[in-house]
């Protein structure tokens, strides 16, 4: 593992002149150091560049619609040239929250299975399965969703939900309308299948960091396996698990191709999960090349800016949690 030298404040140029342990006077060494430094600064350059370019490109829309007005306007009307992000934000939020609700229990369950329950000959294969699920590109999930999952949803699952939960007083507004399979619910299901591997593998890594001694002392007190998981492992690793959950949320917010096929790109705010909707990513994927006016294109850049800020903040929070978790465990 790496050791941090400490929190002293250092500027890039100091590093180049002071850091190299051996030679300060070798010109090739300095050249190589500068080359690597420039390469690593490309990350900062990229993030700053993306922010600046998106703000610049969306300035027309920022100027015309403002910030709050844009976020809370439901209309997305290329004909009248009125654009608001509310409907796309709503779609992004609903699909993200719904998919997280479905994914988190399954992911934690998988992590518990791999770390605590599975016999050792199953640990490897299930772990690899999870990693492979994470490696499948999102467009495959999207196409599978369109051709395989959507028909199953519209023929079997959605009518069944309407017949059961849809009859209850409060839930009925969630399941109104004709089940078409191209809707918020299907998109959320696909998203959740996509997210599970990320959440599961980070939770597994966090669970694995629980010291055996602590677990064994709980067993010695007569705790059952589940009590050990519930009262020792999960409390011990909650920072890491939480970081993993937020990280997956960041992925869900920005996922494009998996939902682009099955959401219908219909800018509306609908209470029913069985209606088509739009997310920020789906709007971008579908409309970017079709934007026929400057303000339309600028509004799409504005949407991209909103998405960038949103996912950057989410990912940053996730990273903070994961760093804190790492510090806690390494102590």
């Amino acid at each position: 593992m790496r050791e941090w030298a400490g929190g002293s404040r250092t500027w890039p140029i100091d590093i180049l002149t002071n850091m190299a342990p051996s030679t300060k006077k070798n010109p090739i060494d300095l050249l190589f150091a500068v080359l690597t430094a420039v390469s690593s600064f490309s990350i900062i350059l990229l993030i700053a560049g993306i922010l600046i370019v998106l703000v610049f490109e969306s300035s027309l829309a920022i100027h015309k619609f403002g910030v709050f007005n844009f976020i809370f306007t439901i209309d997305w009307d290329p004909v009248r040239k009125i654009f608001g992000a509310a409907s796309a934000l709503y779609g992004t939020m609903v699909t993200t929250v719904l998919s997280m609700l479905m994914a988190i229990p399954v992911a934690v369950g998988i992590a518990v299975f791999i770390t605590e329950i599975a016999p050792s000959f199953l640990k490897g294969p299930i772990g690899v399965t999870i990693e492979l699920l994470a490696a499948i590109p999102s467009i495959i999930y999207g196409m599978w969703g369109l051709f395989t999952l959507a028909p199953i949803m519209s023929n079997t699952i959605e009518p069944a939900l309407q017949a059961t939960l849809g009859k209850l007083p409060v839930f009925s507004i969630l399941f109104k309308g004709t089940p078409m399979g191209i809707d918020l619910l299907t998109a959320s299901v696909i998203l959740s299948i996509m997210i599970v591997p990320f959440t599961a593998s980070i939770s597994r890594d966090a669970f694995n960091l629980t010291p055996e001694v602590v677990k064994e002392s709980a067993y010695a007190l007569g705790a059952t396996k589940w009590e050990v998981v519930k009262n020792v492992v999960i409390p011990y690793s909650k920072l890491g698990v939480f970081g993993g959950v937020v990280l997956s949320m960041g992925r869900a917010i920005g996922e494009t191709m998996a939902v682009a096929f099955v959401l219908g790109n219909n800018h509306q705010i609908t209470s029913s999960l069985l209606n088509a909707a739009a997310t920020i990513t789906v709007s971008l994927a579908n409309e970017f090349t079709e934007a026929d006016s400057d303000i339309y294109l600028s509004s799409l850049f504005y949407l991209a800016l909103v998405l960038f800020v949103l996912s950057f903040i989410t990912l940053f929070i996730a990273k903070l949690f994961l760093i804190r978790a790492e510090r806690k465990y390494s102590r």
Partner: protein, 280 residues
């Protein structure tokens, strides 16, 4: 019911549910892979690789153009992204090792890995498409390279950190300058790891669609001109799957099968390589 039986039942139910969750994961993988395999095999003839697309509705076309386009875009993205990523990771793990700056860049790179890829698409669109007024393969390669850089950078940093510091000290003691130590000692020690990182980053970008949608766009004809719109497998899948023809759908499945197999092959290969190198 006594307290003990209640605890036992509760434990049994909870453990049963997590076992169920694990097998659900297995179920989805088999379901999705099986579906891609069954549907993809149907259109996987030799013609699929050797013919260009026929006009819409006419059967018998293939996706040769998309295979070539995908290869060229990915290859150029690798050529741009890998050197920058490896050098950047070298800076973090060597020259700036242990510094706050290295930590910050490392965190930012981790965030960049997960930033929505479609945003990279809009960024490149603004920089490389809008000013010139036409789509280009270069823009697609640049977008994929941007996605690759943080992935390669982070794995390189991690792999270089695994090389024992004493190894470098031994080389310093012989009077070698730092750059020589890095290139001849550290890179050699970490070669397998860096190579695997590059492989995995190629697997990552090979399935990317969103950043290509409005950079390299698509092209129904065979093209090796990186200055014009370039077809790619993933964008072709998107276009064909959303299209109305059964023939298109079959080809989209076949293309998905090829991409999925390619990516799974690289991912498994990379993992085996790492295991072989580090866990002996």
């Amino acid at each position: 019911m006594t307290h003990e039986t209640k605890r036992k039942i509760e434990g049994f139910v909870a453990l049963f549910l997590s076992t169920l969750a694990a097998f659900m994961g297995l179920f989805w993988l088999i379901f999705i892979l099986g579906d891609v395999l069954i549907n993809g095999m149907g259109a996987l003839h030799l013609n699929f690789f050797l013919n260009d697309p026929t006009p819409a509705g006419v059967s018998g076309g293939g996706l040769r153009n998309a295979f070539v386009g995908q290869l060229m875009i990915t290859a150029f993205a690798t050529l741009i992204g890998v050197p920058i990523g490896v050098l950047g990771g070298t800076f973090l793990a060597e020259y700036a090792r242990g510094k706050k700056l290295s930590q910050i860049i490392s965190i930012l790179a981790d965030i960049m890995v997960s930033v929505p890829s479609i945003i990279v698409g809009t960024f490149i669109y603004a920089l490389m498409i809008k000013p010139f007024g036409h789509f280009s393969g270069w823009a697609g390669a640049a977008a994929l390279a941007i996605i690759m850089i943080p992935v390669v950078l982070r794995t390189t940093e991690d792999m270089l950190s695994l090389v024992p510091w004493t190894l470098r000290e031994a080389a310093f003691a012989l009077g070698a300058p730092y750059y020589k130590v890095i290139i001849q000692v550290v890179y050699r020690g970490a070669a397998t790891g860096i190579f695997t990182g590059v492989l995995l980053s190629i697997a990552r970008v090979a399935g990317e669609t969103a950043p290509l949608l409005f950079t390299s766009f698509n092209n129904n004809f065979f093209s090796m001109n990186m200055n014009g719109p370039m077809p790619s497998l993933t964008v072709s899948i998107f276009q064909y799957a959303m299209g109305p023809y059964d023939d298109w759908h079959a080809q989209a499945w076949a293309a998905s099968l090829v991409i999925t197999l390619f990516i799974l092959f690289i991912t498994i290969g990379g993992r085996l390589l790492l295991k072989w190198r580090y866990k002996r």
